[in-house]
């Protein structure tokens, strides 16, 4: 699948889910933010990017090392 196709499918799903959320869902459990339409979508998108960039930054700060960092025979 091309990126265009993937995002096409995702856009349709997203619009559909948000529309259903606004139109149909009456009862929402938990805090007020659960009533904000599309918030979970945003949380998934930004949370994913934050995790990736956070981890990459940690890796660049020195957590990511060569595969031979630890000698194989070191207990």
């Amino acid at each position: 699948m091309t990126t265009r196709q993937v995002f096409g499918v995702m856009t349709v799903c997203t619009v559909g889910l948000i529309a259903i959320e606004i139109a149909i869902v009456q009862e929402v459990h938990g805090g007020w933010w659960h009533r904000v339409a599309g918030l979970d979508l945003l949380a998934g998108f930004t949370g994913c990017l934050a995790l990736i960039w956070g981890a990459k930054a940690l890796g660049r700060l020195g957590l990511q090392r060569s595969e031979h960092e630890y000698p194989e025979t070191e207990p």
Binding site: Q64, S66, E72
Partner: protein, 573 residues
């Protein structure tokens, strides 16, 4: 008689039989015995059995109540599935070790007192070490050593706590403790947290599990951390610090998995992340949260076993385990791909799969009781889980660039075991009532399939999927290792052990040489005592100082007569 149905005893009997049989007889007996243990776990009636007296303490070897029954069911179920997965293995020792390890875990689960818990705990430590060593590589041997250092420390903490509890006149019955009430409960909690792999004492898991044998990893993922969760549920529910530790743990595992290249290590980081949910649930302590911790342990054991079985199948068929070396296997391994994806959907909490109906109990408990930060941390961890196990790993292993790998044919039993685990994941997801009816706190009710819950979950997954697709090229793995908290103690412990061992060896050598030198001097002196009195004379020289044979015989005869006379004088005979 009911004591004979103790699932641990059934597994020990099966392990002994596996060690002395071969071929088809071993395979049939393994399957039947683990199935018998599962049936026994279902059939055991509530109550205490196998009560024995030891130094004034009543030890309960078999306590069946809703909590132990629940964990006993899943432990025996995964022993059954894991045994089928490893049926093709020809090493009787590995079968023996796996089942004794599972028996150790069941000993802990059904124990009614701390001493029995400790016995099972240590049995697990020793046998799990052997499972790591069955990996058969130098790396596995060294990782096993590091693993046992940590677990001996954890076991010592646990034992110190139990001993203090005993010394202070406390009952050794396995009941709820408060970590604020004394050193004993603090030490016990510390010992349990080591096995639960709570950061910063978690690195043993990601270090050792990926190095174990293919089947060994499946067993390891099921028992050690989950017995710790079981003890937390039973002994420390409502300890608020655990709620925060668990939430941080959930994100920690998800964060570190981003950098991981080894597929089994990536999945190991997600064991930490998922156990984080359980620890957080125990920390919240409400009926819903504790039920959530138990339910999530149940589904986690199944889907994590399925994921590791999938990763193990890839390793078995291709001999590779790094994202940078894998790709395009969906075409050559369609069955494994599909079964892995069922596990991925389950761990990611996709509706109609097991993770959806268990994880949401904990997140909902956090939401209902106003733990906003914890709720968001768990949601972010959920995003990370889908990112790695549902998108990154399958994309780069099964669907990514084809690396022209030619996987060998898998033994049928491996696929059957994966099929059983996958069926259980879907079964629990579709019919959560079966799981909920067996939860430890029966009065807490929960409905997972509400419209808003399904909708919000789907949104979360689609948002994660979109972000992954945008940056997927940067996630392909790099041939690196990630430094973790074990960096802090790995070198010092290695040096300590090295210097301790070499120091003791050196001291022993000096002692040996010293005593030999002294013995030599004493021998020379005894051979010619005049040498001491007259330092100028030569030490003993056989040619110069030895008496003629005749003189020696005379001296011996004189000595003998003197001895006889002495005996005669003393005894009057």
């Amino acid at each position: 008689m009911t004591m004979l149905l103790h699932p641990a005893l059934v597994l020990i009997a099966a392990a002994s039989f596996a060690a002395i049989t071969r071929g088809r007889a071993r395979q049939v007996s393994l399957v039947l015995a683990t199935l018998a243990a599962l049936i026994a776990a279902f059939a055991l009636p509530d109550g205490d059995r196998g009560v024995v007296e030891l130094t004034g303490q009543g030890l309960v070897l078999l306590r069946v109540d809703p909590v132990s029954r629940f964990f006993g069911l899943i432990f025996t179920a995964i022993a059954f599935i894991g045994t089928i997965y490893g049926l093709h293995i020809d090493r009787g020792g590995e079968h023996f070790t796996k089942l004794i390890y599972a028996a150790g875990a069941l000993t802990v689960i059904y124990a009614g007192d701390w001493l029995t818990v400790f016995a099972g705990w240590e049995l697990m430590a020793v046998t799990s070490l052997a499972l790591i060593w069955f990996g058969g590589t130098t790396r596995a041997r060294m990782a096993g050593l590091r693993y046992i250092y940590v677990h001996l420390t954890g076991g010592s903490l646990l034992f110190s706590g139990i001993a203090l509890l005993w010394a202070s006149g406390g009952e050794l019955t396995l009941t709820r403790l408060s970590p604020g009430t004394g050193l004993a409960s603090g030490l016990i909690l510390a010992g349990v947290l080591v096995n639960a792999a709570v950061p910063p004492v978690h690195a043993w898991l990601t270090d050792a599990y990926p190095e174990a044998s293919v089947t060994g990893t499946v067993f390891l993922s099921a028992f050690t951390t989950k017995t710790a969760v079981y003890l937390l549920i039973r002994v420390f529910p409502g300890t608020e610090a655990l709620m925060w530790a668990g939430a941080i743990m959930a994100v920690y595992g998800a964060l570190f998995a981003v950098l991981e290249n080894d597929i089994r290590r990536l999945l190991s980081y997600h064991i930490i992340s998922q156990v984080g949910y359980m620890v957080a649930g125990v920390g919240m302590g409400t009926a819903l949260a504790v039920n959530g911790a138990a339910a999530h342990a149940f589904s986690h054991i199944l889907y994590k076993a399925l994921l590791l079985m999938g990763a193990g199948a890839v390793l078995q068929a291709t001999g590779r385990k790094k994202l940078t070396e894998l790709g395009g296997l969906a075409r050559s391994m369609p069955g494994v791909t599909m079964l892995y994806l069922i596990g991925a959907c389950s761990i990611s909490g996709v509706p109609l799969f097991s993770g959806f109906v268990s994880k949401s109990l904990i997140v909902s408990a956090a939401s209902e009781h106003g733990h906003v930060m914890v709720e968001w941390l768990l949601i972010v961890a959920s995003v990370g889980t889908f990112l790695h196990t549902g998108l990154k790993l399958p994309y780069f292993t099964f669907f990514g660039p084809d690396r022209g790998l030619k996987p060998t044919r898998l033994p049928r039993n491996m696929v059957v075991a994966m099929g059983l685990a996958a069926a259980a994941c879907i079964g629990i997801g579709v019919l959560p009532g079966w799981l909920y009816a067996r939860l430890p706190v029966p009065e807490a009710s929960y409905a997972p399939y509400t419209f808003d819950h399904v909708l919000s979950t789907l949104q979360l997954l689609i948002g994660t999927g979109a972000a992954f697709w945008l940056v997927r090229q940067s996630l392909g793995g790099t041939p690196t290792v990630t430094l973790d908290t074990d960096r802090l103690w790995r070198r010092p412990v290695w040096m300590l052990v090295t210097y301790l061992v070499s120091g003791v060896a050196l001291a022993g050598q000096r002692w040996r040489f010293g005593t030999l030198a002294v013995a030599e001097r004493v021998a020379v002196t005894l051979q010619n005592p005049f040498h001491v009195a007259r330092p100028g004379t030569l030490p003993y020289d056989a040619d110069r100082h030895r008496l003629p044979i005749g003189a020696n015989i005379v001296w011996i005869a004189v000595g003998f007569v003197a001895l006889m006379l002495a005996i005669w004088q003393l005894t009057g005979v």
